[in-house]
């Protein structure tokens, strides 16, 4: 039993109070500690990815209590790759926040940041449904603080909406867990997978309710239609580095759907056969459409980027909703890509918007000091987000299209992805030309020398944006090995027997039983 599995949770959990209590008045010390923590986290995450690459499911029993009585942390390829993604993104966002001075505009930025990392890593690693709820709450409570960091009227109002929305979601999560516990008598994910497989369709009503309630909860996090409306207001009004970090938060919801609805309520399980995919797939298509039209119609840069995040979540969930290993691989590749693409665009938006007299409104305004540099970076970020070659968005969308060849998905899936991409390209191109081209036609604006708008961005401020774009280039360059790793990871998720054997012991693995088609057909139709 490797103790490293719990390190991504323990490290920020210890660092955050230390920063909050000891270093609260010393920003240099807090930055140094936060950076050291983020660097060590990247190293640990790389180590975990190497450990998980052997193909086994690694289990960490907290307090050495055996599952299902104790809480377990589980490391497999899927968790490892997402923890690594979180660590790298955290390092990039932290560099930006420190370089631009965002972390000095309010108290406790670094402490909240570390708590947020703790919650995200915990959610990716836990093997217990109630523990997942607790880590969700940790990452949410830290995100509330980060969302209203810096204050301001509109931000506080948007923050209030965000908090209310998520508290309602948490209540729903509790009710779903209660239902699940009442029906199965366990909340351990592996044990749930065993119990749900044993329940015949006639007695599965409570399980089906719980599965749908859980999907609604995760859909709130993943910003899926019809509960995507909180995302544009939140991301557009959050501080830009925080919005870049939030790029991973929607992915926590997507991860939970992949983990729970593929492994426990999977497509081949009698009790919940065909339940989630039926709803998830059209919802994802509508989400993509809303995102694409939002990008086209936005009159400000930050909401435009927020809608492009909605569109990317829709694209990704189309592949998740197919519930096949290859489609999940495509979704995971696109997940990693879209996290970096969204982060790059939000960080760049911060650099540009803070130097424009018009703020983030998409109106012609005098060119900023480094118009050429910003335009080039925006072009690269937009290419990644819209899914054009040579960056990784193109490969991600290609894989998603390839995985949706099944006739039942192809018509809607391909239309949504291709038409959505076109709209996103038009929207981003329009925003880019207003921001960077038409600005050169407006009479030169001569700001005072000490004006914040006249200050060119230092290399340190631009570096994190470039790093995020560089990551999408790396994803494209190493797409082969990465896809192999992710494919092995998604096969692991769909082959739940390994997970069950690792957590509960090999004697608990259920025999594979195929549901009889006749027995399953009728109740599904009744429900619809």
């Amino acid at each position: 039993m490797s103790h490293w599995i719990i390190a991504p949770i323990i490290l920020p959990a210890l660092l955050a109070p230390l920063i909050a209590f000891v270093m609260r008045y010393d920003i240099v010390l807090a930055r140094a500690a936060s950076f050291a923590g983020a660097l060590v986290l990247v190293a640990i995450a790389v180590g975990l990815a190497v450990i998980s690459a052997d193909g086994a499911v690694h289990v960490y029993d907290l307090g050495n209590w055996p599952a299902p009585f104790g809480i377990v942390l589980v490391l497999d390829r899927l968790s490892a790759v997402l923890v690594l993604l979180t660590a790298v993104l955290a390092l990039i966002v932290l560099s930006h926040a420190a370089a631009t001075g965002w972390d000095t505009r309010g108290r406790h930025f670094h402490a909240l940041f570390q708590f947020q990392i703790m919650g995200i890593c915990g959610a990716f690693l836990t093997g217990d449904a109630f523990n997942l709820f607790v880590f969700f709450e940790i990452l949410l409570i830290a995100s509330y603080g980060l969302m209203i960091h810096g204050g301001g009227k509109v931000r506080l109002q948007a923050g209030l909406q965000y908090v209310v929305m998520n508290l309602a979601g948490s209540t729903l999560f509790l009710i779903a867990l209660g239902t699940l516990y009442a029906a199965t008598g366990t909340l351990n994910l592996a044990d749930l997978a065993v119990k749900v497989r044993e329940i015949p369709i006639e007695e599965a009503a409570l399980i089906r309710v719980a599965a749908m309630l859980l999907m609604v909860v995760f859909a709130i996090k993943a910003a899926l239609f019809p509960i995507q409306f909180w995302l544009p207001a939140t991301y557009a009004n959050a501080p830009a580095p925080v919005a870049a970090l939030f790029a991973i938060m929607t992915k926590v919801g997507a991860y939970a759907i992949i983990r729970i609805h593929s492994m426990i309520f999977g497509p081949e399980i009698a009790a919940t056969d065909g339940l989630t995919g039926t709803w998830l797939f059209p919802a994802a298509a509508v989400t993509l459409a809303i995102g694409a039209f939002g990008v086209l119609g936005a009159r400000r840069l930050m909401p435009l980027l927020a809608f492009s995040v909605v569109a990317s979540m829709g694209t990704m969930m189309l592949a998740v909703a197919a519930f096949t290993p290859w489609a999940t691989t495509a979704a995971l590749y696109y997940l990693i890509h879209s996290t970096f693409a969204a982060a790059a665009l939000f960080l760049l938006a911060d650099l540009v918007v803070s130097r424009r007299p018009e703020g983030d409104r998409l109106d012609p305004a005098p060119a900023t000091v480094q118009n050429g540099l910003f335009a080039a970076l925006f072009f690269a970020g937009a290419v990644a987000m819209a899914g054009m070659p040579p960056l990784s968005g193109f490969l991600g969308k290609l894989m998603i299209l390839d995985s949706l060849r099944d006739p039942q998905f192809m018509a809607l899936g391909w239309t949504a992805v291709l038409a959505g991409s076109l709209l996103v390209i038009v929207g981003l191109a329009r925003a880019g030309s207003v921001l960077f081209w038409r600005s050169t036609a407006v009479a030169a604006h001569v700001p005072a020398a000490d004006d914040a708008e006249a200050r060119p961005a230092s290399p340190l401020e631009v570096a994190p944006t470039m790093a995020a774009i560089g990551m999408t280039a790396l994803l494209a360059a190493f797409a082969g090995p990465l896809t192999d790793f992710l494919d092995a990871g998604s096969r692991q998720v769909f082959h739940a027997e390994d997970y069950i054997a690792a957590v509960l012991g090999p004697q608990e693995v259920p025999e594979v039983t195929q549901p009889e088609p006749d027995a399953v057909e009728d109740p599904v139709q009744e429900e619809g």
Binding site: I141, Q157, S170, Y181, A182
Partner: protein
């Protein structure tokens, strides 16, 4: 007893949902508090309802016991809901002081982008 517990969960949820859908921050906070009470009672009931059954096993006698796990879950949920409600009150107070009213929806003027310009100047 089942009737009382079930109907109290139902009434609390109905009241909570109604209040959450109001347009001012104060009723919404009350509504979320009611919803969390409903969730806690529901969670507690998910381990079956029993009277005079402590959640302790007795290895010397055939004791009647109730499931301790939902009780532990409820305790955790109460702590989290309490903390979250306190935080929500603080955020709502902050928004109320900044904006001058406790409307929870945002007007068109709010969407015009004041927050971002303010940051740019800061």
């Amino acid at each position: 007893m089942e009737l009382i517990v079930a109907s109290s969960v139902g009434v609390l949820t109905a009241g909570g949902v109604y209040l959450v859908l109001r347009l001012r921050a104060f009723p919404v906070i009350l509504g979320l508090a009611l919803l969390s009470y409903a969730a806690n009672i529901f969670l507690f009931a998910s381990g079956r309802l029993r009277i005079n059954a402590p959640p302790v096993l007795n290895k010397y006698a055939e004791a009647v016991y109730s499931d301790p796990l939902p009780q532990a879950l409820t305790l955790t949920a109460i702590v989290i809901a309490f903390g979250m409600t306190a935080l929500l009150v603080m955020v709502a107070l902050g928004a109320f002081i900044e904006a001058g009213d406790d409307r929870i929806d945002m007007t068109e003027a709010d969407h015009a982008g004041e927050a971002v310009r303010k940051d740019g100047a800061a």
